[in-house]
């Protein structure tokens, strides 16, 4: 039998909180592992009463959902934390935000509604905004049109096991060009697929179909994540929890 630590098991999770946080400014260069470490330390500094896993190396109960790649900024990163004592979500948001470095800003914190399903199940797409300094909006527009006209565009993706060919077109739900002279802006909704299609891959597809070659490194921001509905919009994944809470408060008010 596996050895077990002496003493009682750790206290159970009594409350689950879901957070939306950002990756802004220079911190867009943080990797997922960097963010995870920063968050764990901030939870300790903010004295959030975390629930821990059992065993010889107990870990705080934290589940991450689809982290943005290193180098990409984000307005919509999500994480769920398990607490051993219930806390006011707004107070946790403020305390955690204060304990995190500027740029990693906790913008929302809601209690997970019971029976509402997992956070991961509410996310299957992301909206990206990619600034392309040195690219004219008209050139980007033409490239986007060429991309959307194709059924499949194969690009080489760098993976841990070397380059791998993937289809970058199928994952693109919608794409449009905008921006100003000298800096085009690509807005693209990408479905979550495996292997993942990232803004870099979409740009590689634009190079493949229209020879679009940005002279300067592009800057990508993930603006939203959620479930892609039939109208093509990405729904707020915290919406159901917020609605459940409002309902619950409403009921309380009527009693």
């Amino acid at each position: 039998m596996a050895r077990q630590p002496e003493g009682p098991p750790p206290p159970p999770t009594v409350q689950k909180l879901r957070l939306r946080y950002t990756k802004r400014g220079p911190l867009r260069f943080a990797s997922h592992r960097d963010l995870a470490r920063a968050l764990e330390r901030a939870l300790r500094r903010a004295q959030v009463p975390m629930a821990f896993s059992a065993g010889f190396s107990p870990h705080p109960k934290i589940s991450y959902v689809g982290a943005a790649p290193t180098g990409a900024a984000s307005e919509a990163e999500y994480v769920e934390i398990g607490l051993a004592q219930a806390r006011d979500p707004d107070a946790v948001r403020a305390a955690l935000d204060a304990a995190l470095p500027p740029g990693i800003d906790v913008v929302e914190c809601v209690e997970a509604a019971e029976g509402g399903g997992s956070l991961a199940d509410r996310i299957d797409a992301a909206t990206w905004r990619v600034e392309l300094p040195g690219v004219e909006p008209a050139d980007l527009g033409a490239a986007v049109e060429a991309l959307l006209a194709r059924a499949e565009v194969t690009v080489a993706k760098r993976t841990k096991n070397g380059p791998r060919d993937i289809d970058a077109r199928a994952a693109v739900a919608s794409a449009s060009a905008g921006g100003t002279a000298g800096c085009a802006i690509l807005t693209v909704v990408v479905r979550q697929v495996t292997p993942s299609v990232r803004p870099d891959d979409v740009l590689a597809a634009l190079t493949a179909v229209a020879d679009l070659r940005p002279p300067l490194p592009p800057r990508a921001v993930r603006e939203a994540q959620g479930r892609l509905d039939d109208s093509g919009t990405v729904a707020d994944p915290l919406g159901p929890d917020r609605a459940a809470r409002a309902r619950c408060q409403g009921e309380r008010a009527t009693v």
Binding site: P26, S31, L35
Partner: protein
């Protein structure tokens, strides 16, 4: 404008490099001050990768001490990896600080902390990237004053051409004195230019300005004399010693990086200095005397540091932590205080002593009981007498057995090879020892699931130690001994599979030896190696032994010396050593006598327990050992 941020020009480059987070700063507890608000600007550099440099205690301490002054600011800079360095050269972006991304070129001072000599090529790379002339002689008053510190600064001769000054000893107070001098000189309108500034700095206690000392050589290649060229600088430069560590509770706000670093914990230095007298150990020799932080001082640093960082592990640092006069009580009371908080406490490698197992048990009460590290250093009892780290084989096996019996499953043992007088037999005893340890461990734990890792590297003789005269073992000797050791460990697979062997081959040690005991002539070798692409010499994937030996073969013979002359040659008593004019407080005669006693396998006592002023440090520097016990204890923390 001076002090302007380079970030807008740097940012597009960061998108193209590995681990860009290491270049963006923004660490928790980092400080950014306005450039115009202060008189003196310090760039502090650790000449290795960010992940190694960020946790460095010395740099963190000076960063805080300087930033606490209203008239100074300090920012940090680290070695830039070759991928970014190439892009920076292409884009014309200079070496920058991570705090505000200001150009290092704009600062008044560039302080570089050398824990190891293998950072020298990274110094040259940083200077070149910064746009600062490599040679101190080519700098004018618009360039930063380049200051070397850290343990390697006790022999800065190999980098004498590249640095403006070197600071000996503890940095906390001397950085303030240097700041005062630079501030006054600037406020007076920079009288006398750079030379006058350096002359003023040379009169600060602990500051050595190499350009004011001339070295002459004898026909046989040895140094004839080192003479000062001005009579207003000291003939010998002494070291600085901070007394009363409780008055210097730094770092108060340890830096916490976003990026991964080599130490994912905070550290509290529980004492400075060591008087064990291990003859190979430069740190133990140059940091005398022992100065303890009190139990209450340590308790409040641990408390404040954990609150400021959110770390879940605290390392109690020093050269021999179990020797603290209050260590037993400290371990128990800290463990009590953090019971149930998932806070781990740890001691770095310890001496071989059953008491250390008790200590480790206590410290691991709240955390994991994974691995214990002991450092017997020498393979045989005989060689352990030579190095003055006496422990019998029976004691060693007994200690390790106690560890296994207490639930520890993994024991790491640190050794060196290539020690003076060593033979193959001394090293082969490591294999016998490891086998005995595993046998005893299996019996004590009743399990085959015990492991012993032997970690071994080549010994490099260091300045200011009794072994400073010793012949360094050649790379071939080291590699041969490692080979026979590996064969001996693998001889019995049933035991050998429980023993791990981790080793470093002998080649990097030869280069470290050249740089450790080199003189000013070695500077040419460093410069050539850097020009030919040498960087990050502490990293095996970047280190090139061939580049170093080829550079040494080109630069040294015209000067009448060679690589072997600096490394495998034993020195005589009358030889002028390159660092003789730099005073660590140790009496050269005492060091020589200790060297002779080493050769006759005699041990020396520890002045922590037996009063003694023989080594010379206390009388020379007017210092005393400072130890407890204080009789105080840690109060429970008030609940917030």
């Amino acid at each position: 404008m001076t002090g302007e941020t380079l970030y807008p020009r740097l940012e597009p480059l960061l998108a193209q490099v590995q681990k860009p987070i290491q270049y963006v700063g923004g660490e928790l507890n980092a400080q950014v001050k306005a450039w115009e608000d202060v008189a003196v600007h310090w760039a502090l550099m650790y000449p290795d990768a960010y992940e190694v440099g960020l946790p460095n205690q010395g740099l963190m301490i000076l960063y805080e001490v300087l930033n606490e002054r209203p008239d100074a600011l300090a920012e940090r800079t680290y070695a830039v990896w070759p991928d970014l360095a190439a892009l920076m050269r292409e884009a014309g972006v200079g070496q920058f600080t991570v705090d505000s991304h200001r150009a290092v070129r704009d600062f008044d001072l560039l302080g570089v902390s050398f824990a190891t000599e293998l950072g020298y090529t990274n110094l040259l790379e940083a200077l070149d990237l910064a746009g600062v002339p490599l040679h101190a002689a080519d700098r004018d008053e618009s360039h930063p004053v380049v200051v070397a510190g850290g343990h390697a600064a006790f022999n800065p001769e190999p980098i004498a051409d590249f640095v403006d000054c070197a600071v000996l000893g503890d940095g906390e107070q001397v950085v303030g004195d240097v700041t005062d001098v630079v501030k006054a000189w600037k406020q007076q309108g920079r009288p006398g230019g750079r030379v006058e500034l350096l002359a003023r700095l040379a009169r600060v206690d602990g500051v050595y300005v190499p350009r004011f000392y001339a070295v002459s050589y004898r026909p046989d290649g040895a140094i004839a004399a080192v003479t000062r060229s001005r009579d207003d600088v000291p003939a010998r430069v002494g070291k600085r010693t901070v007394m009363d560590l409780d008055e210097w509770p730094y770092p108060k706000q340890p830096l916490v990086p976003l990026a991964e670093s080599v130490h994912e914990r905070m550290s509290v230095e529980i004492f400075r200095g060591c008087t064990r007298g291990c003859r190979f150990c430069q740190a133990g020799m140059i940091t005398r005397p022992v100065r303890e932080r009190t139990i209450t001082g340590i308790g409040s640093m641990v408390d404040a540091g954990l609150k400021a960082t959110g770390y879940e592990e605290v390392g109690l640092l020093s050269l021999s932590s179990a020797d603290h006069s209050e260590i037993g009580q400290l371990a128990t009371e800290l463990a009590d205080r953090y019971e149930g908080t998932n806070t781990g406490l740890s001691l770095p490698s310890t001496r071989v002593d059953a008491f250390n197992v008790t200590l480790a048990n206590e410290l691991s009460r709240n955390g994991r009981r994974s691995g214990l590290t002991f450092a017997p250093e020498g393979g045989s009892e005989r060689i352990r007498r030579v190095i003055n780290k006496t422990v019998s084989k029976d004691d060693l096996v007994r200690t390790v057995t106690t560890a296994y019996a207490n639930g520890w499953r993994q024991v790491k043992l640190y050794f060196m090879c290539g020690l003076p007088t060593e033979t193959d037999e001394d090293v082969l005893e490591i294999a016998e020892l490891a086998v005995d340890v595993i046998r005893a461990g299996r019996e004590a734990s009743g399990s085959k699931d015990v492991r012993c890792t032997v970690s071994i590297g080549g010994f490099v003789p260091k300045p200011h130690t009794p072994f400073q005269w010793a012949a360094q073992a050649s790379a071939e000797t080291i590699d041969h001994r490692l080979r026979v050791l590996r064969q001996a460990i693998n001889a019995d697979r049933r035991i050998g599979r429980s023993i791990g062997l981790r080793y470093h081959d002998g080649k990097p040690g030869v280069v470290e030896g050249l740089l450790s005991r080199g003189d000013r002539r070695v500077g040419r070798v460093i410069e050539r190696v850097w020009r030919e692409g040498g960087r990050f010499d502490g990293w095996s994937e970047h280190f090139s032994y061939e580049r170093w030996t080829a550079a040494a073969a080109q630069e040294l013979p015209p000067l009448g010396v060679d690589l072997d002359w600096f490394t495998t040659r034993e020195r005589t008593q009358d030889e002028v050593l390159p660092w003789d004019h730099l005073d660590s407080g140790l009496d050269k005669e005492w060091l020589w006598d200790d060297w002779q006693e080493a050769l006759s396998e005699e041990e020396v006592a520890d002045c922590r327990w037996t009063p003694c002023y023989d080594c010379g440090v206390c009388p020379t520097n007017g210092t005393e050992i400072q130890i407890g016990p204080t009789g105080r204890s840690l109060l429970p923390l008030t609940v917030v």
